[in-house]
Symmetry: C2
Subunit: 215 residues, 2 copies
DNA sequence: TTGAAATTCAAACGCTCGTTTGAAGCGAAA
DNA sequence: TTTCGCTTCAAACGAGCGTTTGAATTTCAA
């Protein structure tokens, strides 16, 4: 076996641990955010040793960076919402599609939903790792929101107005995803099943489209 | 001097320390949230001993509870936005007034603004203290938002719809207040002076009132 | 089978956190 | 002046955090 093969085999075992750690870290960071997610809990869920994080990723931040890379890759895959797909829809349908996609974590606990939750955390407790990560490429949720919003705004809208409207739209689903657990408690007591999600999409789409005066 | 007088004098000195701690805690919790705000920083700013927090308030949570009580009192004072005042305005003006009031922290660093910032933190990192505190009386920002929203919604709107719309409105200003510092950085680079605040109020009021289709 | 490299492991380190401790300081009554 | 309760203080405690350490184990080419 060549040295290359040895490296490959060695890295196969390495990859197992790395993958388990990234997976566990994704769920832990989705639940508790970067600061609140502890290395001990991650390694416990990954059934790995604490030191493995530092051995394989150089530290907690290195592991987080890998999670963000995986998240970016998942978002870039056309499995997720596609800019071209949005453009093919009418502005109204694009808006509905956007809201529905980013509210999905309310009822699904899949991988993409966890990534969205991490983004929701970052929208509130930005970590240095994340800030550096997105420094020169705004996260997709903002790029998509801008795309949706631009089709409604007049051509001569100022950059500031576009930014206001884009942020306004982008943070609407993030709020519900982020605060889902709190909204499930009194005094709100909102439980999100598929049907409640549809009603939420309807309500938000209606409000965003036509505003309060249009209901 | 009677025992009562002695107690009064003793409590005067006590009140000095307590007031300094509550004031310092308000600013620290406004800056860093409950979890992120350390007792050491609070006592340092209050020029008090660390142990004073436990002596006077029984612990960090007791001090926080006092801050929340002070915040509630400040909000209940008619210095702040008054439900009756809102009702006296047209629905549109009430909406503008609401947004303007809750976006004020962007340009002012006064006491009420700090309380609003604490609420913004809680909307994202709910502490047990806060949850217990508001358990049976929703914070005013939500009660006011419901009041504003109800005047637009049809009488037969479901409770869930009202809640959706209320949350939708309430979190709009909270987002900008909470993320002000992040929005000041690239890639957004939004600086909020008085004029930018007015433009933001205009934009949000327009979007909330007429939606994207109305711009 | 052997030896060296890669990986895992339990334990400990250094740090910050909220809290506790017991002595010292203080003001007012006796 | 002495005494007593209230308040302050420096120091330490215990728990949790990310990280480091050095030995044990595993892996696999030779």
């Amino acid at each position: 076996m060549s040295n290359l093969d040895q490296a490959r085999v060695a890295s196969r075992s390495t990859e197992t641990t790395r993958a388990a750690l990234i997976k566990a870290a994704t769920s832990v960071f989705a639940e508790y955010g970067y600061d609140g997610g502890s290395v001990r809990l991650i390694t416990q869920r990954a059934m790995a040793n604490q030191a493995a994080v530092n051995y394989h990723f150089g530290g907690k931040d290195g592991l987080y960076r890998e999670v963000l890379i995986a998240a970016t890759r998942a978002f870039e895959e056309n499995a997720f919402l596609d800019p071209e797909e949005l453009d093919a829809l009418s502005p109204e349908d694009a808006l509905r599609r956007y809201l529905h996609q980013f509210l999905l974590p309310l009822v699904k606990r899949d991988r993409v939903s966890r990534f969205l939750r991490i983004f929701a955390w970052e929208s509130v407790q930005p970590s240095e790792v994340f800030s550096a990560f997105i420094a020169h490429s705004p996260p997709r949720i903002f790029r998509l929101a801008e795309r949706v919003v631009r089709r409604f705004l007049p051509q001569d809208a100022s950059a500031e107005t576009v930014t206001f409207a884009m942020l306004w739209l982008a943070q609407q689903p993030m709020f519900f995803v982020r605060d889902a657990e709190r909204l499930a408690q009194p005094p709100f007591s909102l439980k999100f099943d598929e049907e409640a999600l549809e009603r939420l999409v309807d309500t938000l789409a209606g409000l965003s489209l036509r505003g309060l005066a249009g209901v």
